[in-house]
């Protein structure tokens, strides 16, 4: 195995683990449901995507790399939809935004 592929896979794995950890800290520490959702759906998706890309590159086969990239595209397509649905449902059932939030454009609808 080549050194370049090993270092690339290692960096991708460490970066993905860092993004997932940052997303977990955001989910734990942010003050509001909506801000927690933004941490989970953006940084969390990038973390899982980088780890899947590392697994696909490490296998060294084109078919497996293509499957990993298909999984990343699937994650990138579904995470915003799920977060949007959950935020809309929470807002419709009267979940308050944080006091420090600047504006709530959905309130009057």
């Amino acid at each position: 195995m080549d050194y370049a592929i090993a270092i690339l896979v290692s960096l991708l794995m460490l970066g993905g683990a860092f993004f997932a950890f940052a997303a977990a800290i955001g989910v734990l520490r942010l003050p509001d449901l909506y801000s927690r959702m933004h941490a989970a759906s953006k940084a969390g998706t990038v973390g899982s995507g980088l780890l899947l890309l590392a697994a696909g590159i490490y296998s060294g086969e084109g078919a497996i790399l293509a499957r990993a990239i298909a999984g990343i595209i699937f994650l990138l397509l579904t995470a915003p939809v799920a977060a949007h649905l959950l935020a809309r449902a929470s807002h419709a059932t009267g979940h308050k935004v944080w006091d420090g939030s600047v504006r709530d454009e959905m309130r009057k609808r």
Binding site: I5, L14, A17, A20, A40, S48, R67
Partner: protein
């Protein structure tokens, strides 16, 4: 240091960091004041589990783990959508203590208002 040793070391470090992230997210699920917070934590937990499976795929060399990760992502998406529909239909009955206080303050006012309007 051989290439496989570098990858094994990075995989171990990544597994440790992901385990820590899993613990923090589980804390939010236990502590989360409302159902929506717990659903956000569950979504995050699914993402971290996908990363875990990808690191295990690198560590063991079995490429089939990637398919398992993709199917777990599908199940996690469907679970989040189902929970969002459930939150929408059920409402926030088990709300946080602060929201409960405001609801208790509101309810007597409404009850007091309605007889006043009727009479």
């Amino acid at each position: 240091m051989e290439p496989s040793a570098i990858v094994a070391l990075a995989a171990n470090v990544a597994l440790a960091v992901l385990g820590l992230a899993l613990l923090l997210t589980a804390w939010r699920i236990v502590a989360g004041p409302t159902l929506s917070d717990r659903v956000v934590g569950l979504d995050m937990l699914t993402g971290i589990a996908i990363g875990f499976i990808a690191v295990v795929a690198v560590k063991t060399g079995f490429a089939l783990y990637i398919d398992i990760a993709i199917s777990l992502g599908l199940v996690g998406f469907l679970a989040t959508v189902a929970f969002a529909r459930f939150v929408l239909s059920r409402g926030e009955r088990q709300a946080s203590p602060t929201v409960k206080k405001t609801k208790r303050k509101d309810k007597p006012k409404r009850k007091a208002d309605k007889p006043g309007r009727a009479g």
